[in-house]
């Protein structure tokens, strides 16, 4: 009987601790993603603004890429962490950001924590 009770108590406590830890991890991870995408959005909007002033023909491809990036970010479902294509869309956004950086000749060394390792010689 005590064995059973002990188990129940332990399980309840463990579940509670798990929920707390999960919530903490989830909000941290969610914040990371939000921060990353937020940075891309700010970057893209700024450049969109800057390039609008240059009516050079060469910029049309850059503007198009920026528009696409902004569009992808705006379509991203922030309220739904269970969205099944979350990772896939995130990778597409990252890829588009890298492409835009390449077109603008900017180093895309935006880093969050230790996720991306920098090139070492």
């Amino acid at each position: 009987r005590f064995h059973g009770e002990g188990y129940q108590e332990g399980y309840a406590e463990g579940s509670h601790a798990g929920v707390v830890e999960g919530r903490r991890y989830g909000s941290l991870h969610g914040a990371k993603i939000g921060s990353e995408i937020g940075c891309y959005l700010g970057f893209a909007l700024t450049w969109q603004c800057l390039l609008q002033k240059c009516t050079d023909g060469k910029n049309s491809k850059k503007i198009r890429a920026l528009d696409l990036l902004i569009g992808m970010i705006q379509k991203f479902p922030y309220e739904d962490p269970t969205y099944d294509k979350l990772q896939e869309d995130l990778e597409k956004i990252r890829g588009k950001f890298k492409q835009v950086c390449s077109m603008l000749n900017i180093q895309s060394d935006f880093r969050i924590g230790a996720e991306r390792s920098s090139l070492t010689f």
Partner: protein, 346 residues
């Protein structure tokens, strides 16, 4: 056609017996040059390096240089043996990958270039008439290191092979590049892929010691293979297993004869031919030639070899100058270590 072979940091052009080294392009990369590729027009050379960059070199048609050092004051006119054509010049460096670039390939049109890297991404670049290169897409579909990229022989379709055990195909859809197919089946790293002459079939080779042949089924195909939307489906129609005892690093599909050649970690090149009675939908391939080592007097480091198939004889040209050029037909057998890569001379 046959091109230069890359070494650590520098690119010597045309090594081996019967060949003379025309130039050493030593100023482009800081680390291993992993792959080189000539453009379809033959004027440009792309080199992919572990230093995360891809250099584009242009052949210099005009202009000569006097070879240094000169033993004495410049004679007038200069001795002809001391003059050589200018080596290819680096016209641009493509940056963006986060780490080692593993492969580079030109599309048959000559206007597109693809690179892939350990950073798991595939980049597609476009070049215009003014020799300006622009990144048109960064594809993050693979979940691991991408080993190789290869273009379709006549469509703008790109294939990539990865450490994540899959082959992925990409094409342009509404102004952007997307992954349109994922070929699953290999049980380990896929090292290389090759399209057949028509591009309807694809061969992939893997660390799982098999070569798999895949066939393209378009929507509305008569075999009744299901397709999603307008994208074709690729199915595995043949699995060549039991022939290789180690990882297969490279595969090449001869566009003249339809033969398949493989480069394997067991130090051999194998050539497979499709059986005469083979059904294209369920082909059977048989081993036609196998070159294995007689003696190993070689050092332990891996040699890069390219094998060219000219009808029934196979020539292998190892990359180190000290190694003799090896050629064999179905009767001979002598090979260097871990053959990698292999290609057909068209």
């Amino acid at each position: 056609g046959a091109g230069p072979v890359a070494g650590a940091g520098s690119i010597p052009l045309s090594p081996g017996q019967g060949w003379s080294c025309r130039a050493v392009l030593g100023e482009g990369h800081q680390r291993t040059v992993r792959r080189v590729a000539w453009s379809p027009c033959g004027s440009y050379l792309a080199s992919a390096s572990f230093d995360a960059t891809t250099c584009i070199w242009k052949k210099q048609e005009d202009g000569f240089e006097v070879r240094t050092p000169l033993p004495e004051p410049f004679p007038c006119p200069p001795h002809p043996l001391l003059i050589s054509p200018l080596p290819p010049q680096c016209v641009t460096t493509l940056e963006g990958h986060e780490n080692e670039v593993k492969s580079v390939a030109w599309a048959p049109s000559g206007t597109l270039l693809a690179t892939c890297s350990r950073d798991k991404s595939v980049w597609v670049w476009e070049v215009d008439e003014e020799e300006e290169y622009e990144c048109v897409s960064v594809l993050n579909s693979h979940t691991q290191d991408v080993k190789h990229v290869v273009w379709h022989p006549n469509q703008e379709l790109l294939a990539s092979a990865s450490y994540d055990d899959t082959v992925k195909l990409y094409h342009e859809e509404e102004d952007d590049w997307v992954c349109c197919a994922t070929l699953e089946g290999h049980e380990s790293t896929v090292w290389s892929v090759a399209f057949d002459r028509g591009g309807e079939r694809l061969a992939s080779c893997s660390d799982d010691k098999t070569v798999r042949i895949w066939r393209c089924y378009k929507p509305g195909n008569e075999e009744g293979v299901a397709c999603s939307g307008t994208d074709p489906t690729w199915k595995c129609i043949c699995n060549l297993s039991g022939y290789h005892t180690r990882t297969i690093y490279d595969v090449a599909w001869c566009h003249l004869t339809g033969a398949l050649a493989t480069a394997c970690g067991d130090d051999a090149i194998r050539v497979f031919e499709e059986s005469a009675s083979s059904d294209p939908r369920q082909p059977t391939f048989g081993l036609a030639a196998h070159a294995a080592p007689l003696l190993s007097l070689c050092s332990n480091s891996t040699l890069h070899c390219s094998a060219s198939v000219l009808r029934t004889s196979v020539e292998a040209e190892p990359s180190r100058k000290k190694r003799p050029r090896v050629s064999f037909s179905r009767h001979m057998s002598l090979m260097a270590r871990a053959v990698f890569p292999v290609s057909f001379l068209e």
